[in-house]
Symmetry: C2
Subunit: 967 residues, 2 copies
Amino acid sequence: MLTRRDLIGGAIAGGLLPSPLTAAVGFDQRSHGFDIGGAGSVVPIFADPADWPGVRRAAADLAKDIGRVLGTDARLVFEPNQLAGRLIVVGTLGSSPLIDRLAASGKLDVGRIKGKWESFVIQTIRHPMEGVSEALVIAGSDKRGSIYGVYELSRAIGVSPWYWWADVPVVRRDRLRVSFGHYVQGPPAVKYRGIFLNDEAPCLSGWTTEKFGGMNGQFYARLFELMLRLRANYLWPAMWNNAFAVDDPANPKLADDYGIVMGTSHHEPMMRAHKEWTDNRQRYGNGQWNYATNRDAIRRFFREGVERNPTNEVIVTVGMRGDGDVALESTGSLQSDVRLLETIIADQRQLIADAMHKPAEKVPQVWVLFTEVYKYYDAGLKLPDDVTLMFADDNVGNLRRLPLPSERSRSGGFGIYFHMDMHGGPFSYQWINSNPLPKIWEQMNLAHTYGANEIWIANVGDLKPLEVPIEFFLAMAWNPEDVGREKIAGWTQNWAERQFGPKHADEIAYLVARYAKYNAWMKPEQLKPGTYSVENYREAERVWEAWDELVRRADAVNEALAPEQRDAFFQLVLYPVRACANLTQMYVAAARNARFAQQGRASTLVEEDEVRRRFRYDHRLRDDYNHKLAGGKWNHMMDQTHIGYFDWYPPEADIMPALADLDIEDSAAFGVSVDGNSRSWPGFYLPPTLPKLDSLTRRPTYLDVYPRGTKPVSVDVSANQPWVQITEGQAFSASPLDRRYWIDIDWTKAPVGKSEATITVRGEETVRATLVAIRANPEQEKEARGAYGGLTGAFAIPVTGFQRSVAVRGVRWEAIPDYGRVAAAMAPFPVDAASFGDPLASPRLEYDVFLPKPGRYRVDLVTAPTLAVIPQRKLAVAVGLDDQAPVVQAVFTGENAVIQDFLGSAHPINTASNTRTMRFEVAPDRAGRHVLKVAMVDPTLVLQQIIISNDGPEPSFFGPPDARLNG
Amino acid sequence: MLTRRDLIGGAIAGGLLPSPLTAAVGFDQRSHGFDIGGAGSVVPIFADPADWPGVRRAAADLAKDIGRVLGTDARLVFEPNQLAGRLIVVGTLGSSPLIDRLAASGKLDVGRIKGKWESFVIQTIRHPMEGVSEALVIAGSDKRGSIYGVYELSRAIGVSPWYWWADVPVVRRDRLRVSFGHYVQGPPAVKYRGIFLNDEAPCLSGWTTEKFGGMNGQFYARLFELMLRLRANYLWPAMWNNAFAVDDPANPKLADDYGIVMGTSHHEPMMRAHKEWTDNRQRYGNGQWNYATNRDAIRRFFREGVERNPTNEVIVTVGMRGDGDVALESTGSLQSDVRLLETIIADQRQLIADAMHKPAEKVPQVWVLFTEVYKYYDAGLKLPDDVTLMFADDNVGNLRRLPLPSERSRSGGFGIYFHMDMHGGPFSYQWINSNPLPKIWEQMNLAHTYGANEIWIANVGDLKPLEVPIEFFLAMAWNPEDVGREKIAGWTQNWAERQFGPKHADEIAYLVARYAKYNAWMKPEQLKPGTYSVENYREAERVWEAWDELVRRADAVNEALAPEQRDAFFQLVLYPVRACANLTQMYVAAARNARFAQQGRASTLVEEDEVRRRFRYDHRLRDDYNHKLAGGKWNHMMDQTHIGYFDWYPPEADIMPALADLDIEDSAAFGVSVDGNSRSWPGFYLPPTLPKLDSLTRRPTYLDVYPRGTKPVSVDVSANQPWVQITEGQAFSASPLDRRYWIDIDWTKAPVGKSEATITVRGEETVRATLVAIRANPEQEKEARGAYGGLTGAFAIPVTGFQRSVAVRGVRWEAIPDYGRVAAAMAPFPVDAASFGDPLASPRLEYDVFLPKPGRYRVDLVTAPTLAVIPQRKLAVAVGLDDQAPVVQAVFTGENAVIQDFLGSAHPINTASNTRTMRFEVAPDRAGRHVLKVAMVDPTLVLQQIIISNDGPEPSFFGPPDARLNG
């Protein structure tokens, strides 16, 4: 927790503003406080020669960071006896005699960091010692405490952690001052906060080969610096055809010097890359990666791994999976497999103790429950208490398990292995960021609340372009309070300001949040031409427009930014916005091509060109990223194929959506299609019927008229009722020749009750469509006011639009802003509340609905795809109408549980769309106003949408629009 | 039955040769018999002025037909008192006084036709009367008997029924003689033999409008003549936006004059077109086509229909369906609907009696059980005994019902409504002939055998291009013995000879049979890119080659024919062969395009061009048919869209299969794919494995190597075992750069038992594929000899390749040559045999199989999609191994019955592919030779294929190849 003394004036509210230290930094001559200097005159930085190499190295970074701001690097001083004047002092309690003296003298207040993990204090001190008039002291409780303190100052003076990794320019200043005061941070909420470079071909591999000649120390030095600036401390190195300790034998020591705790991935035990095995298996016994048949040789392989890290700070992965990232070969039965794994771990601990010359329980170890490994744990595998038990997510950012209260006392604690990138099942997503922060927050908040706080590690793929979720994940691991439920947007705004300054920060934060949100509607790799409905609810059109708006706004920001900011903006914002908008629109155009072909539209061919153009544009954007961005600095980072997935793995080459073609006749024939229908007339034998319109929802409808031949079409569209209003516009089509006729009702003129009109399209032929309009009577109007519903069709309720929220014993449904597919989702808080057995007496949301007739209605609750994280619970929720008993339904019971669980058949689509739909039914016994109640049973359920229909809404991705009546 | 006297020498064997009359016609001077004449000198034709107008009109056709052969038309004589010399006499018993006199005198032998339906005798008589030296007499038992007799002579002298309708040229002769003798035919097996012109837009409508100005008498005169030449007598006229009696008010009388019995379609009662209702409904009561609400008006509508046909020969359709060709609107319950229908029919019969001035039972009537109408019958609707009960098929040529013995005594008998063309469910097929004759024979033989012989009517769409199945259907209706099970190929050969002469008849018969057979593998409209497997069993490749062979042979015949024969050949053979081959190959190329894109092949783009080229070629062929064929005579007859079906109805425009595209990199990268696998390497993380090879089946395998970039690829393919043989060839691809490496085993060198080899493809990168070869030991070889099976994988058994066939009580499995997807199918005969309760004592087929190991094997019986034609029976069959009890399985029991029945979910795919698959299991307790037994339970089951596998064969359309071992 960052705190501040009263020396700094002004109100700084919570997490919505930059950190106190940032606020304490001033850039003009009139600022008060410790003067770091100006161009040509900068205070020196002292770091004790006895201090950790990593601390001294960080101090050197600070010296350069000051130079990045002021134009003059700070000088480094390592001689404690020659200090004079004003200076910056960096040092670690217990490692820097100077810092220890300052603490002992009482001038430096270390009360809140001493003995703490990775904590630091930044304090201005007048006359700290003889000959020194004033010092800015950065003191760490330990090695990384000091390092994080140093980088905290770097960040506060305007050097982004991403200054090199995303080309974020540093704003040049004339002067740098820090307000007098005492700034404390630490300890972090999560002890080990890490990333996993994974699935690194073709991007990261290609890039490191070209820029560094491989994944050597040059590359890792860059990476370690970034990690430390982001306050990460733990790394699983790249291991696709890479071996950290072999690719560059200097790598392990380099990591330790920097202060990075090394590990190996979930399936690579004992500090060895799996590639070390595959490259050398012939040297190990019978060459089988099978502890049952080749134990001695594998033990030797294990021993060599720990022996080369006798003193480095590491977390040793224990256990064993199969040969490569696959399941262990069974020894016959689950129980014998469990026994074998217990033997393996016991052997590994003995090897660790031998090689590191200390008891095994003094060396951090982790056992990762990944995919099938859960079953061994569930089957009762006995794990030594000090080994951290790490729960892997479902590969798509949904936790599979949380610690039970009965488990939480284990000394090794619990960790989480989280994915922001995946190469594997249920599908790969390696191209772009599709991790909206509210989703990360929602799941990691469960981890935090339920006490899985020993290690958090995120699979970040090639690292780029996941800059934003990586920083968010690490910030949350450092201090979850800073990025609380209501503070996610604020954090994003801060992030944007840190990279691009305050002027466009709001807009950039909007863009960064939005493109990730839209990407999480449906993972880009899982988009298909049919994902968004071309027929119903104008869905594809609305999605198209949403992306169009982002592109417009991103382009406008790009224009307004300074030229030197544009590289950073391109990689962090503009490229993902443009590329993802283009990708989605390409698929929608492909859907139009297919549908238009079925309708015999001449514009089928225009859509063909549209798709082709967008396919090429995707590659031009990729090439811009690889070749033009920062002069080609990031070449290969966008090499990942991402179009045309047909299996869980990425296609060899991007595959353009398949396109239909027609032979267009030389005629002036036209066709007509209507809202909500895929068919086309003249043609289909049943005549067209438009969707019913009603005076409560007041939605218009439309029909499209389009050429079917090469010649222009001229039609007259008219209605046989005076209350029908027809307005011509542009159809949702790449061709301007496709016209849309909007059809609305003048409800002041329409008769009360149900009326019918015929819309006639007259041209070479005549097409007649039927329209039914229902005008509410005054009683209906009065009763419906403010409720959800209408007189026709399916409708949705925005979940935050409840009329009443009933809290019980301090538990209530609260909003998670910007979650999922809606403006805000609702979930029971606190997330670790006990379940409620009686849905009549549980926290609930009440929505007033207006239903046009008695009978059965289907109620679809669109929730988050939360998994069975708490083993005893079934993830149930209840729905009721009025005073009818609410019906409880659970996700994880019986066959449904298997379908919905990880590896179940519903998992791929649930995770690709970040939803799960639960179907209920209510049966009002009369028409009119009712109260729909959604009552909590279990926590961790997140509610995104409520959709009410008779037999289900029309096929679409998002369902029908919200319908609040004269709200 | 045609018989002949001993005047004609030489042996003429059964149905495999032309009819006796044809054999009796000679064309040279030396021929003996009745001399019709030569150019410039032709005998006259006498027809009695008192005879039927239709008979006199047919005599006039004969006069012109003689002219077509000899260059000089015969003269018509109508004055019986002026006859002299030699002449042809045409007349009807009871209507021609001359014929009656000849019969009374004993000179004309009418013993076998008198009082018979539609029978005739053709007889040469010396000195039949005063002044006449010699006559060729054609005498009919009734009006159409005479007409058919006349056209029998026309056909025998070389005038095809299709001379105008398919431009079949008449061979000019110097002389025409008929051997002295007595030729009798009739009566026909089926009393009314008809066609239904249906689904007539855009083809028949467009053509008749352009050529005749509508469906008027000019058009119908052409049609009636064709029908009579084909010995049809019954017509349901076109009714899509057409009304026979209104379009041209002369039509009804014209039909009666010609001798055609008119009806209206299954859903148009009382001799009125439904269009007459839709055009005039406002004149009828409340305008509702609802007998419950608008009875009086509808009765008036009915009355007008029968009143305009007081004397014409008609069959009145009774009953009532819904408004248009849809189900009747229910009155509330099935029983009340049944009562309403009974009332309707009773009313209709009263109206018939009133209008026609005779008892209703004297007027032929038909009630058609179409689609949903069956349920009324099954619910017990009481139908007057004299009304013919017509069973409709399932819209795809599979009968739904046969008369039970208990029903057969009804005086009105039974009829069949059969489809060769459909616009409607389960899918439309309106473009081309996909009706192989063995399939028509198999089903109509059931109708004949089970006594549904009062009426046969076939829905023939636009009539063209269904010339062959129409003629076959009518020939079978005339005399089923002539086209018996073993005579179908002979009939087709005769047909070909009649149209094109003897020289190419065998080849043309082959082409005509084959293209229809291939079209029935999968209806052309239902073809998709994925229909035939590109990966497994070289299936798509084999299908491609089969069509290629037909095109080559059709092209060769076309070259060899005389120029004047080419129009007929184009429409009857060449167009369907070329267009269907091209269509299939277009879809296969589209499948390659999609698969190659997934494999990252550069040739993806070549396949794109291939598909595009074939799509355009389809339209060029269509344009040739419409515009070039016979100088544009058949314009519009090929207007039917047929590519890109996405619903049961035809697309508005042909939709080219959607095509994928890639951006091809500028590299020399290559890819490898292997037999039986869709993936591509380098790429997929598991290494490639080739299918296992074994020394018993001795099938080779292959891998393909192809460029992934723009540059040529050079690879070296080698094996690490001397017994592997590798041969380079052309891959199945439109690009010659895609190479195939055939991999076979030198079994003399391979070790006995299981061995492994690695095939290495070396180029820019290296790909290694694993190959397993299994060589049988001598005992296995001995045991396997002559059996089906092998040591690896799934295999098929050709059903005619049984080792033993066991007959029981005269019932045995017999072959239906050329049926379905195989060279011959097997079915129990006679088809009306009783079911067998005990499969241990029923007729069975035994196949020797060699199975490589004990365990469970799946046995798939691929049968015909026979429906539940005999209500009490379930369509069961039994499968057993060795002495294990055979397991009985039935198609029509429980839920399975619903799935399999008409309107069930299996029906569309069963009918599109003319198959149904029944899954059995056998479990040998040891490896080696066994006997697989297929035992009859119910008749009407037709067995096409037996496929044996472990867990099912690889996905494909036809399954694995036949595997007879060293047979």
